[in-house]
C-alpha cells in the first residue's frame, strides 16, 4: 500500500450565502495515494470542484472548512497565507477549469508559464523563453505559442497551455479541474494523453471531472461524489466491473457506451444539510434507515460505499 500523499478525514465545507448556509462537502474521508491518478467524478454541484479548491487552499472567503486534509503529513486546513505561499506551485499544482479566463490576457503565455519559476529564482529571466518552450513541447504545443496571448489560442491549445503553467515548478501533486470540458474529440485525446504522460512521470493527479469515460481511461482510483457526500470509493477495475452504490450504477448506465439511461428524479438542494444517504429520494432500493446512514461500509479492501445494501 503506497503511503497516502493526501489524506482527508471527515472534511466538511459550507458556504455562508445571502440565502443561508450552503453545504458543498459533507463528511468526506478518503486518501489519495502517491503516483496514482484519482478521478473524482460526480455531476456539477456535487462538491468535487470545491474539494479540489480546498486542497489548494483557494476557497472563497465566505467558505468554512472543517475536518482535516493533510498533504505528505502536513495539515493544510488552517495554514496561514504565508505558509500556503510556500507550498502552492512547488508542492501543489492547479489547473483551473476554463482556460480562457484562467490565463491573464495581459501577459504572454511564456510569461505566465515562467513567472513562478523566476519568482522562486529557479531560473533567471533570461532563460524565460527556453523554459517555457520546454514545457510547451511537453504538453504538445509548438514553442512559438509562448509569444501568443491567451485570447489568441483555441480552447484545446489554451487548456494545454494551462497545464504547462500548472506543472511549471514540477509539483508532486497536480489537481486538474474539468480539463476536458468543452473540447472537440481531437483535443480531448491530446489532453487525455497529456494526463497519462504526467502520471507516467510520477506526478500524483487528482482529476476532477464529470466525464466518466475519461475517468475509466486514465484513473487508478475512482471517487464518486453526490449531494456533497462521498458515496463510493474504489479502484478503477472493481468500480467499473461492479459498481456498488445505486447512484454509481445509475451513473455508469448513463454513459454513452452503456445506453445513455438517465437517472430519474432531482439532485438534492445545496441549502439542505444532507442527512444519511443523499441518493435516498432517487434510490430504487431506498428504505427508512437510509436517512440515518452516517458511516460508509468497507465491503472489501480499498473500497468503501455509503449504502445499507453492503
Amino acid at each position: 500500500m503506497t503511503t497516502p500523499l493526501v489524506a482527508m478525514h471527515d472534511v466538511n465545507i459550507r458556504f455562508n450565502t445571502t440565502r443561508g448556509w450552503g453545504y458543498a462537502v459533507t463528511a468526506v474521508s478518503a486518501d489519495v495515494r502517491a503516483n496514482t491518478v484519482t478521478a473524482i467524478i460526480g455531476e456539477s454541484g456535487s462538491g468535487k470542484s470545491v474539494l479540489g479548491a480546498a486542497v489548494m487552499g483557494l476557497l472563497p472567503n465566505n467558505a468554512e472548512a472543517s475536518g482535516s486534509i493533510t498533504y505528505a503529513g502536513l495539515e493544510l486546513l488552517g495554514l496561514t497565507d504565508r505558509e500556503w505561499d510556500q507550498i502552492r506551485g512547488i508542492e501543489l499544482g492547479w489547473v483551473a477549469q476554463n482556460p480562457a479566463s484562467s490565463l491573464n490576457p495581459v501577459y504572454r503565455i511564456d510569461e505566465l508559464i515562467s513567472e513562478a519559476a523566476i519568482h522562486r529564482r529557479r531560473i533567471r529571466r533570461r532563460d524565460k523563453r527556453r523554459f517555457a518552450a520546454d514545457l510547451l513541447t511537453k504538453v504538445g504545443l509548438p514553442a512559438a505559442t509562448g509569444r501568443n496571448y491567451s485570447f489568441e489560442l483555441s480552447g484545446g491549445m489554451a487548456q494545454r497551455a494551462l497545464i504547462a503553467v500548472g506543472i511549471g515548478l514540477d509539483p508532486p501533486l497536480l489537481i486538474l479541474d474539468e480539463p476536458t470540458k468543452g473540447l472537440d474529440p481531437a483535443n480531448y485525446d491530446r489532453i487525455r494523453d497529456a494526463i497519462m504522460d504526467l502520471a507516467g512521470e510520477g506526478h500524483t493527479i487528482m482529476l476532477i471531472t464529470h466525464d466518466v469515460t475519461l475517468a475509466e481511461q486514465v484513473a487508478d482510483e475512482i471517487w464518486v461524489l453526490y449531494g456533497s457526500r462521498l458515496v463510493e470509493q474504489a479502484p478503477k477495475q472493481d468500480f467499473f466491473a461492479t459498481p456498488l452504490h445505486p447512484y454509481s450504477q445509475g451513473l455508469l448506465a448513463a454513459m454513452p457506451s452503456r445506453g445513455l439511461h438517465p437517472i430519474p428524479g432531482e439532485s438534492p438542494s445545496f441549502f439542505v444539510p444532507p442527512e444519511g444517504c443523499p441518493f435516498v429520494d432517487r434510490c430504487p432500493y431506498a428504505v427508512a434507515a437510509c436517512h440515518e446512514l452516517k458511516t460508509p461500509s468497507h465491503p472489501t479492501e480499498g473500497r468503501s460505499v455509503l449504502c445499507l445494501l453492503h
Binding site: L58, D85, I87, S101, L103, E115, H119, L169
Partner: protein
C-alpha cells in the same frame, strides 16, 4: 501594429468629426450672442456713434449679411488659416492671448491629473487589499462627502489651511512652480475620491477572477498577485472612465484660475465675458475641445499599452 494604426485612424476620424461639431457649437454661440459684432468692432475704434452706412459696410466685410451656413464656412475658412479672430477687448490677435495662456492651464491640469493618478493608484490598491477595514469604510464615507463639495469650497479651505495658516504655499498668483500645487489639488480632490472608489471596486472584481486565482495557485502572495495580475486588468477598465475625470479637471481649471488668480484660459474667458468679447469665448471653446481630444487620445493610447487584446486581436 495594424491594430494600433486602425485605432489611431478611428480616433482621428472621430476626433475630426467631434471637432467639427465643436466648431459648429462655438459658431452658434457667437451667433446667439446679443448685440451686433459690427457695432462692437466700430465702437472699439473710437467712432462715437457709428452711422448706419458704416455699420452696413462692416457687416458686409464680416459677411454678416450672408446666410448662416455661408457665414459658418467663411468663419471655418478663417479658422484653418489660423486666424481665430481679433479680440474686441484688447484688439490683439487672439492667438497671442492663447499662446500666453494655454501653457498655464495645461500645466495646472497636468499637475492635477498627476496628483490624481499618484494618489488613487496606491490608495485604491491599499483599500482593495484592506477591504472592510476601518480605513476602507472611512474612505467610502469620505468619497460620498467629497462628491458633494464643490471645487471652489475645497480651494477656500486649502487656502485657509496651507497658505494663510501654515504659510507653506503662495495664496495666489503665478510666481514660481509652487503656486500651482494648491490650485491643482483644489480641482482634483473631488475626482480623486471618486476615481479611487472606482479603482477599488474594479480591483475587488479582479480578485474574484479565475486568472487571479490561478496566480495565487502558483504561490504568489496576495499583494504581489494584486499588483502584477489584478491591477493591469482593473486599470484597463477604469482608464476610459478616468478620461472623463481628466476632462472634468480641465473644465474645473477655470474655477481654480479665478480663485488663485492664475493667468490661464479660464481667467481669460471670464474676463472676456465681462467685456462681451464673443470671439474670445468662441476661441476658448475651440481650444478646450482640442485639449479634450488630446486627453481622449492619450487615454486610448494608454489603453492600447496595457491591453494586448486591443493591440493584437484580429
Amino acid at each position: 501594429m495594424t491594430n494600433l494604426l486602425r485605432v489611431l485612424a478611428r480616433h482621428l476620424i472621430q476626433g475630426v468629426l467631434t471637432l467639427l461639431g465643436i466648431t459648429v457649437l462655438s459658431f452658434l454661440l457667437g451667433h446667439i450672442a446679443p448685440g451686433d459684432p459690427a457695432y462692437a468692432i466700430l465702437g472699439s475704434d473710437g467712432v462715437t456713434v457709428p452711422t448706419e452706412e458704416q455699420v452696413q459696410v462692416v457687416r458686409e466685410s464680416l459677411g454678416l449679411d450672408r446666410s448662416v451656413v455661408e457665414q459658418y464656412f467663411l468663419w471655418l475658412g478663417q479658422l484653418f488659416r489660423g486666424n481665430i479672430g481679433v479680440s474686441f477687448m484688447t484688439n490683439r490677435l487672439i492667438e497671442q492671448e492663447l499662446l500666453a495662456r494655454i501653457p498655464v492651464t495645461v500645466q495646472l491640469s497636468l499637475l492635477a491629473i498627476t496628483f490624481l493618478v499618484l494618489t488613487s493608484l496606491p490608495l485604491g490598491l491599499f483599500l482593495a487589499l484592506h477591504k472592510d477595514s476601518l480605513l476602507d469604510h472611512l474612505f467610502l464615507g469620505l468619497t460620498s462627502l467629497f462628491s458633494a463639495v464643490p471645487g471652489f469650497l475645497v480651494a477656500l479651505v486649502l487656502i485657509l489651511i496651507f497658505a494663510e495658516g501654515l504659510r507653506l504655499l503662495p495664496t495666489s498668483g503665478l510666481n514660481g512652480p509652487t503656486s500651482l500645487i494648491l490650485p491643482a489639488l483644489a480641482i482634483s480632490l473631488g475626482s480623486m475620491t471618486q476615481i479611487t472608489r472606482v479603482l477599488r471596486a474594479e480591483l475587488l472584481a479582479a480578485f474574484g477572477t479565475e486568472y487571479f486565482q490561478s496566480a495565487r495557485a502558483k504561490g504568489f502572495p496576495f499583494r504581489f498577485a494584486a499588483v502584477k495580475h489584478a491591477l493591469p486588468n482593473a486599470m484597463s477598465s477604469v482608464l476610459t472612465l478616468w478620461g472623463n475625470y481628466f476632462i472634468a479637471i480641465l473644465g474645473g481649471s477655470a474655477v481654480a484660475e479665478s480663485i488663485f488668480a492664475l493667468p490661464g484660459l479660464g481667467q481669460w474667458v471670464l474676463k472676456s465675458i465681462n467685456s462681451h468679447d464673443y470671439p474670445a469665448i468662441q476661441a476658448y471653446v475651440l481650444v478646450m475641445g482640442v485639449l479634450c481630444l488630446m486627453i481622449f487620445l492619450v487615454v486610448d493610447l494608454l489603453q492600447l499599452a496595457i491591453q494586448p487584446r486591443l493591440r493584437r486581436a484580429s
